[in-house]
Structure formats: C-alpha cells, structure tokens
C-alpha cells in the first residue's frame, strides 16, 4: 500500500513537472468531446473500439489532470469527470500511451479545437518512464545507445573494420578503388548519421560518391529511444553524442538518414534541450537527395529501376511532424516511371502503426498489426508492387503488414531507389558530351 501510494505520488509529481502552458490547455475544458477525432485514429479505424479513440485515450490522463486543476474538482469532481489517480490507472496509461498510440499526430491535425492529444499521450509516456512503468525494452535500447558513447574506444576498431568491408563493396559497385566511406574527417561538409546496418549506409555512400560530396560518417546511430520514452535526460544524452561529434569535426551540417523520429528529434525537438545554439544545420537525407536532383549533382534514369508501380508512405514524423512532403515526391518522380499516391496522403496520411517505438515492442505485436490494417488497405488500393518508406520503423512495420495481409509488395527505402537509378558520373558526362 505504501509502495502504491509512493508510485502514485511520484506520478503526480512528474505530471506537475510537465504541466506547461500547452499541457494546461490540452488537458482543460478545451476538449468538448465532440468526437471529430474518433475515426481519424488508425487504431479506431481498425477496431471500432470506443476505448482506443484519441479522445478516450486522452481522457484517461485528462481526468487525473482535472482532479489537480479543474475549478470544480474539490466540490463536484464527478461532474467534470475528475478522478484521483490510482496504480490501476497507471497500468491503463501504459496501454493507452505505449500500446494504443503511436504519437502519429493525425488527431491534432483533424481536431477543430486544436486539442494536442499527442502531447497528452507523450506526457503520460514521460510520467510512466519516470516511475519505472515504461516498457523495459525501450529503456534498454536507450541505455544501449548511451553506453555506446561510453565504450566508443572499445567499439571503434570493430566499427572501422565493418566500414572497411562496406567501402570495398562500394568500390566494386562504382568501379573506383578510390571511393571512400570516410569516418572522422575534420572539416567535412556533411556528418552523415546512419542507423545500424548497411542498408542505411551503402545507398547513401553511393549517392554521396556520385554527387562528389564532402562527407564523413558518424560513429553513432541516428535512432533515439529516449524520445519514445519521452525521457528528456536520456534523449538529450543520445543526441549529444552526435552534437559533440559534429562540433569536434567542425562540419557544416548533420544529415540524418531515412529515419522519421531521428529527423524530427534532431531537426525540431533537440535544439530546445540545449542551452546553446548549434553551429551546424540539420537536414534529412531526403532534402539532400532532392537538392542533388534539382541542382543536377546526380543524374537519375527511371529506366534503371524496374517499371513496377510504386507508392510512397508518408512517415508521420517526416511528414506531419517534420514537414517533408514534397522532397520525397520530387525524388520519386525523378527515379521511377509509375508513381501512385495513396489516399489520403501528406498531412492526412494514415500511420502504418509502427511509430512511437511500437515496432520494438514485441508484446504488442498483435495490436500493432491490427492497427496497421487501414494502411494495408490503402496500399492495396493503389495497386502498387513496391512501397517506399523513408523511415526504418515504418519499413519494418510495412514489411510485417505485407506478410500479415498478403499485400505482395516490396518495401524499400528511397535512397535505395535513387542509388539504383543513378547514372554513373562517367556515363553521365559522356552522355552530356554527346
């Protein structure tokens, strides 16, 4: 009992710390329970379960907030739905915030009032993490990223060996023994931050090679599980590794690989956590590739990609939360012949169900795949044979949706398509001379 009181008390204190101006508005009478958000949520679209509508999920948290702040809380709490927080509530918060919400932002974009339901859910995540109720795997992944920096000297040799082997692969691919995957190059223009795995290194290395980019690769991966936990201390430490590396190498810009949350975190959220302005700018690899195509730094031939119809999935973090809508589409038009839009798309795109760290949570796989049903239906309706996703979490989820719903599509990254379509520099210049 004492322990329960303690955990509930700690949760209340954490809530209080997170009670910002924005949160006060989002958790107030602003939400009139009109229900316009209900069928905008992919969880509700897939299940029709009233308990997973955005308003119902937010209400679990909001009612506790009302118990602290609503003017009628002390005389008529039941009248406004205010309730005292219990440990059972916290367990239900875990389901609402970590299982039944991918923080996709579709509800706020479709709320006539502008209720920031994702903020309410994110706040719940932060509180749950602080009191030790967040999914353990997310905590472990965040801590692993932090310990990578602490053990970088030990890992460096192994990392460089891996890069060497990829470099040889690159040299064979571009037929140039001088091609490099540079690491630790001071004064490079770009610090490229990949994810773990060659799939976010090889295509980009090829693109940089053909564009003649001055670049160096980060020793750290872009993903930031601290953000999924809404744990600013962990999230900042994970970002700080890259900030320090960028400052040490004096690069002009940090370019984040095809990863939704990593881009939004580095581009939009993380600058708030630091008390100094950064000396470099942050861009997504999508913006860089788009620039290369527009400026003619790389030449793409759509015929180099097979002629299959292709559709594009707007990652919530890159699009609705990050503003990258047209860049991927311009690139796609340059590197494939048959592009088909999903409906709705861009700002109104439907989440694949894998965001918010959900792809890492095996316990919730069944719910996650069910929540991906509307996205699967969207893909099927396009008749596309390939789905491009510029976010690794989305790619993972779409791959699983492909199997689960028998979509028969190939899920690929945009840089892979671009790398396939690149006309090698030598051929390109010969063609120009002719």
């Amino acid at each position: 009992m004492a322990e329960e009181k303690n955990i509930v008390q700690r949760a209340k204190e954490e809530l209080k710390k997170r009670y910002t101006r924005n949160m006060a508005v989002a958790s107030s009478n602003l939400c009139v329970h009109c229900g316009m958000c209900i069928d905008q949520c992919h969880y509700h679209k897939a299940t029709r379960d009233p308990k997973v509508s955005p308003v119902a999920k937010a209400e679990r948290i909001r009612r506790v907030m009302k118990n602290e702040h609503d003017w009628l809380r002390s005389i008529l709490p039941w009248w406004v739905g205010a309730r005292e927080l219990t440990e059972e509530d916290l367990d239900r918060w875990v389901e609402a915030a970590f299982r039944d919400c991918s923080l996709c932002q579709r509800c706020i974009v479709n709320c006539p009032m502008g209720v920031d339901t994702p903020l309410v859910m994110a706040t719940a995540r932060g509180v749950l993490t602080a009191i030790g109720k967040a999914p353990q795997i997310l905590v472990e992944l965040a801590d692993a990223a932090i310990s990578r920096e602490e053990n970088i000297d030990m890992l460096k040799e192994f990392f460089l060996e891996q890069i060497k082997s990829m470099e040889e692969e690159l040299q064979a691919k571009v037929d140039d023994p001088g091609a490099r995957i540079p690491v630790n190059v001071k004064g490079a223009q770009i610090l490229y931050v990949p994810l773990s795995g060659a799939h976010t290194i090889m295509p980009e290395a090829e693109i940089f090679y053909h564009a003649g980019t001055s670049w160096t690769m980060s020793m750290f991966e872009a993903s930031n599980y601290g953000v999924f936990l809404q744990d600013q201390v962990r999230a900042k430490r994970i970002t700080e590794r890259i900030v320090k590396e960028a400052e040490r190498l004096e690069v002009e810009e940090v370019v984040v690989t095809e990863c939704g949350h990593a881009y939004t975190t580095s581009r939009w959220e993380a600058p708030k956590w630091f008390d100094r302005p950064w000396k470099f700018k942050v861009r997504s690899i999508l913006e860089v590739m788009d620039e290369y195509v527009r400026l003619g730094r790389i030449t793409l031939d759509p015929l180099r990609n097979d002629g299959r119809p292709v559709t594009y999935h707007d990652s919530c973090n890159l699009g609705r939360n990050g503003g990258l809508f047209e860049e991927p589409r311009r690139i796609l038009h340059a590197c494939i012949k048959d592009f088909r839009e999903m409906t709705p798309n861009r700002r109104q795109s439907i989440c694949c169900g894998g965001g918010g760290g959900l792809v890492a949570l095996q316990d919730y796989e069944e719910v996650r795949l069910k929540a991906g049903e509307p996205k699967a239906a969207q893909i099927r309706a396009t008749g596309a044979e390939a789905v491009v996703a510029s976010c690794d979490n989305c790619r993972h989820q779409l791959g699983q949706l492909n199997e689960h719903y028998g979509l028969n599509v190939n899920v690929i990254g945009l840089s892979e398509l671009v790398a396939n379509a690149i006309v090698p520099r030598r051929v390109s210049s010969e063609a120009q001379q002719n």
Binding site: L30, N110, G114, G323
Partner: protein, 215 residues
Amino acid sequence: MEDSVLTFVKFDLQIFALSWLGLAYLIKIYQILRLPQPREVAPQQGSQELGVFYSYSWLFIPWSMESTRHHLWRWFEFAVYHLGAGAAILATFTIPFAPSVMTRNVSLTMAVLVTGAFMMGVLKLWRRMVSPDLRLVSTPDDYFSLAGVEVFFLFTVMALVTGSPGWMKAYFITTAAFLIYVPFSKISHYVQWFFARAFFGLRFGRRGIITPRSA
C-alpha cells in the same frame, strides 16, 4: 412602463453576471500564462505567423481537415449551432442596451438563427446519448451544458418572437445563470480555443507543415 423585476434582470443581473464571467476568464488566462512553455528554437522552415492565421481560419474551411471534409454535416451543424449561439448572446446586449436595433425583422431573423441552433443542439444531445464512442467520454457536464444551452435557446426564441415580459425575464435569468456557470463548464472551451489554435499554428507553421516551406 417596464416592471422593476424585468429592469433588474435586464441590467443589474446581467452586468453582475458579465463581470463575474470576465473576472473568471481573467483568472483562467492568468493561470495559463503564468505556466512555463518550452520555446521552439530550431531554425524555422515555414512562417509561424501564417501558421497561426491558417490555424484560426481552418474553422471556417471545412475541407481543411479530413474530419470535417468527411463529416460535412457535422461542420454544418457546428456552423448553424454557433451562429445561433452568437445571435442569442448578441441579443442579451442589444435588447437592453440598443433596443432601437431590435426591429421586428431583426428579432425574427435572430429567432430563426437561434431556432436553427436549437435544432442542431437536439441532434448533438441525441448523438451524445446514442453513440458508444461519445457516451464513453461524456461527463454530466457534457449533458448538462448541452441541455442547458437548449433551454437558453428556447427562451431566447420565445423572448425574441413574443417580446413578452414573462419570456424576457426567463431569458435574462437563464442568461445570467449561464454566465455564472460557464467558467466551470466545457462551454468555456472558446477561451482555450484561442490558445490551442495559436500553439498549433506556431508549431505546424514553423515546421512548414501547414504553410509553404522555405528553401
């Protein structure tokens, strides 16, 4: 010659209730503004100012959101309801303070608007009672506020159409009761609405999500 009760409810009671409402809102706004707010510091990609403008204007553009685009009737219902509410509130000022404006035609036009709002209110209340999604999240305040506003609309229409002292008294007493209750209820959503839409516009405008992106 107007009776003293009607004069009291038309003027003194209204001024008291309005002062109460104003004070309550000032306190609410103060409570919001004294809270900390993390500032966006990342270089902006779109216009914050335009974002706020778009954010406010979306309410008047049903195709701006998929929720209103797919539920056009709900948007229409919202528009009629709030137009009528606006007319009913306006009448609480014009009847006592600008009686010359309240010609027969103006009164009847206002009554038509408020009748529309009343009908939409019935629909809202019915939906709240039958929809499992809405029932789950509804509080007693949700039902009371809707039902109470319906009574207010009804008295407004009767006062506007008949102009009789009895209906006028009922209208102004209901108005005052509501002005006193509003700060405690969901009806006060329109105060926070200005903040919420501004926050939305600032963030989504700055990021170039609802505004054109700069290079």
